[in-house]
């Protein structure tokens, strides 16, 4: 028996296959969630079945917003439980997980590998991946370029909490001729301050692990560490934390 985790988020869909002992990641798959979760789930199913294991040998757990669209899953769990479990696997069992997702941000307190408390952002996209995606788009940049530019900029304050208002704030800044580098730096700063405010609503353990799609955005990770006053660790597998956790719970 091998264990698969399917994590269909608002922006990216992730699949992971773990070995029988649940100690090793055998395969990973990352794809855009697209507009149809069911179809995305189907594609991940085809991928899973192409890995050389029969369906009877696979135990599949689904998580993420699209978890309800995975009819072949043996079980579904919320992404909070899965991210907690996945982060414990990647970073150890006593830490505070920060997951910056495409549509929401969560802070999960882990004690001995178990979720003991959590908080999610309010139903608004400030402080989420969506915020940076919208800002990058507005400036005609891909996310990688956006982060590279932000790193060389001087932070301008973007005070609007709402993504839509922040976008018009950026339009005004562009109108004033503010360099894109400074605006990008300001947008990252805005997300970091919103995320750290969420972290401070809980009793953080002082050790942070970042999961989600920004696990390789070094500039954001460093900025977050500066504001929190502690090191934020992560790894390229951070984006698979939800899927890993799902597979572990299979």
């Amino acid at each position: 028996m091998v264990y698969a985790g399917i994590d269909i988020g608002s922006t990216a869909a992730k699949g992971v296959l773990l070995n029988e002992a649940k100690t090793e990641i055998l395969a990973r798959k990352l794809m855009p969630s697209g507009w149809n979760s069911r179809q995305t789930a189907e594609e991940l199913h085809t991928w899973l079945l192409s890995l050389g294991h029969s369906r009877e040998d696979l135990r599949i757990i689904a998580t993420g917003y699209g978890r309800v669209s995975v009819p072949y899953a043996d079980k579904t769990l919320t992404e909070i439980t899965c991210h907690g479990k996945g982060a414990a696997f990647l970073g150890g069992g006593d830490l505070t997980v920060i997951d910056i997702g495409g549509q929401d941000t969560k802070v999960i307190v882990l004690t001995g590998g178990r979720v003991t408390d959590f908080v999610m952002n309010d139903k608004c996209s400030a402080g989420t991946g969506k915020f940076l995606e919208v800002m990058a788009n507005r400036m005609g940049l891909g996310l990688d370029e956006f982060f590279a530019m932000a790193e060389t900029g001087r932070e301008v304050k973007i005070s609007s909490m709402c993504t839509v208002f922040a976008e018009s704030e950026i339009v005004s800044l562009m109108g004033l001729g503010t360099p894109r580098e400074d605006i990008a730096c300001g947008a990252v700063g805005s997300v970091v301050s919103k995320v750290s405010a969420l972290v401070n609503r809980k009793s953080p353990s002082g050790k942070y692990y970042l999961t989600g799609g920004f696990c390789e955005a070094g500039f954001l990770v460093r900025k977050l560490g500066e504001v929190l006053g502690a090191e934020v660790i992560t790894s390229p597998d951070g984006r698979f934390a939800g899927a890993i956790g799902a597979a572990l719970l299979g």
């Binding site: 439980t81 178990r114 959590f118 908080v119 139903k123």
Partner: protein
């Protein structure tokens, strides 16, 4: 529902718009309630009352008014129903738990107002709730900023009477509320033309205490390991208790409880073994707001207690029945209606936190969900203490904010689902 169009027409309602509500309700009720397995038979009465929600009881109120009787509508459990009842009026809660009425309220109120207030004004101004047509007097109170300003707007269309609820619980505040209740009694006497006698007031106190005792008996079943009735069903009964005939609902609750006694003896539970038990605390859930109970119980939890106005605060404490004179009885009413209800409109409000902890223990709750209706500042801010104190007591707590729409159902399912998973590991 039977055909009540003629009555609605005569009440000056916007029947066409109201029909939309009537069309939506059976489906919603069916999905949430009738889909439950193993419901007690005693729920039949309450199903019927909901099915006829804008017909049966309003028709009784119409009859009462035909005989010269008056109807007094209230919005808050700090306002004692014993007073209008002792003056021969019928007291009714004013419904405000549906998104259906919110857009109507938003015509007059800022969007950033709590849905309960918006729905209350919408129900009146849009003429889509018979209770809001039938009340001869609307009793508002100064519990929160939103309400007290909204009453000024409502007063342009409805006969308002405002009671000034204190914000603290010092001796002089009790004295003030006592005076307010005296004033309310006088006002109800003027409205009905009936003089309140000690005998009338005493029997009103006993009548409503009996209703409370029935609701207490019902709540006691939720303390059992095998819970014989769902949280949803108890919520429904509590909501109906706000506007049904008090004596009738008392006897119907006891009838249901007799059935639950048998279930308890046989260890019948409507939940599987090991179901996580949730205590809800926070802002009220007015009929037909069943959203949270439905989500929690569909996700495999059980709601065992509501530390809410539509819950424990409404029925847990009785009024002292020993008063002989009207003055003594009003002192006792003050004690009950101010001292025994711990709303976030008071400062400080330490007793509420103590209540949550006590109730979590009494009802063996595995976790607490602190619910805040969007834009209710006082409960939102008090959430700070709820979370901190429960954490200190080792009781898991989840804070959520919601309104009357269904748009956030998926997000709520993720939060509540994760909370239940957390309790289970």
């Amino acid at each position: 529902m039977a055909d009540y169009h003629e009555m609605w027409q005569s009440l000056g309602m916007d029947v066409k718009t109201h029909d939309l509500l009537c069309e939506a309700l059976p489906g919603a009720f069916g999905d949430v309630y009738l889909s439950q397995d193993n419901r007690p038979e005693g729920m039949d009465y309450f199903n019927m009352v909901v099915a006829e929600i804008h017909g049966l009881r309003p028709a009784e109120l119409v009859e009462h008014k035909k005989k010269g009787g008056k109807v007094v509508g209230t919005f808050c459990i700090h306002v004692p129903d014993e007073i209008p009842i002792s003056a021969g009026a019928i007291a009714t809660g004013l419904c405000s738990g549906s998104q259906f009425w919110v857009p109507g309220g938003e015509k007059k109120l800022p969007a950033a107002t709590c849905p309960l207030i918006k729905a209350s004004l919408g129900a009146r101004f849009d003429r889509t709730c018979p209770f809001f047509r039938l009340a001869d007097m609307f009793v508002g109170e100064t519990t929160c900023d939103g309400k007290k300003k909204a009453w000024e707007i409502l007063a342009e269309d409805a006969p308002m009477y405002i009671m000034d609820i204190p914000q603290m619980k010092r001796p002089k505040d009790y004295k003030h509320w006592e005076e307010e209740i005296h004033g309310y009694l006088k006002k109800c006497e003027e409205l009905t033309g009936n003089r309140v006698t000690p005998a009338n007031l005493r029997s009103a106190i006993i009548l409503l205490n009996n209703k409370r005792k029935a609701l207490q008996r019902l709540a006691s079943f939720r303390k059992l390991d095998d819970i014989p009735i769902s949280g949803k069903d108890v919520l429904l009964i509590t909501q109906i208790a706000f506007y049904d005939d008090p004596a009738r609902i008392t006897s119907q609750i006891h009838k249901l409880c007799d059935e639950l006694d048998t279930r308890a003896k046989n260890h019948v539970s409507v939940f599987p073994k090991g179901t996580k038990r949730i205590l809800l605390t926070g802002t009220p859930l007015s009929i037909p707001n069943w959203k949270l109970h439905h989500i929690i119980e569909t996700l495999g939890g059980a709601v065992v207690c509501e530390e809410m106005c539509t819950g424990i605060r409404y029925y847990e404490k009785c009024v002292d029945e020993s008063g002989g004179t009207i003055d003594e009885m009003i002192t006792n009413l003050t004690e009950r209606y101010m001292g025994a209800i711990h709303c976030a409109c008071f400062t400080p409000n330490r007793e509420r936190i103590d209540d949550i902890k006590r109730l979590a223990e009494e009802y063996h709750a595995d976790g607490v969900i602190d619910v805040n209706l969007k834009f209710c500042g006082i409960y939102d801010i008090e959430g700070h203490f709820v979370e901190r104190e429960l954490n200190a007591a080792g009781i898991p707590v989840l804070g959520i904010e919601t309104d009357y729409t269904d748009q956030d159902a998926e997000q709520l399912k993720t939060r509540i689902g994760a909370f239940l998973e957390m309790l289970g590991n």
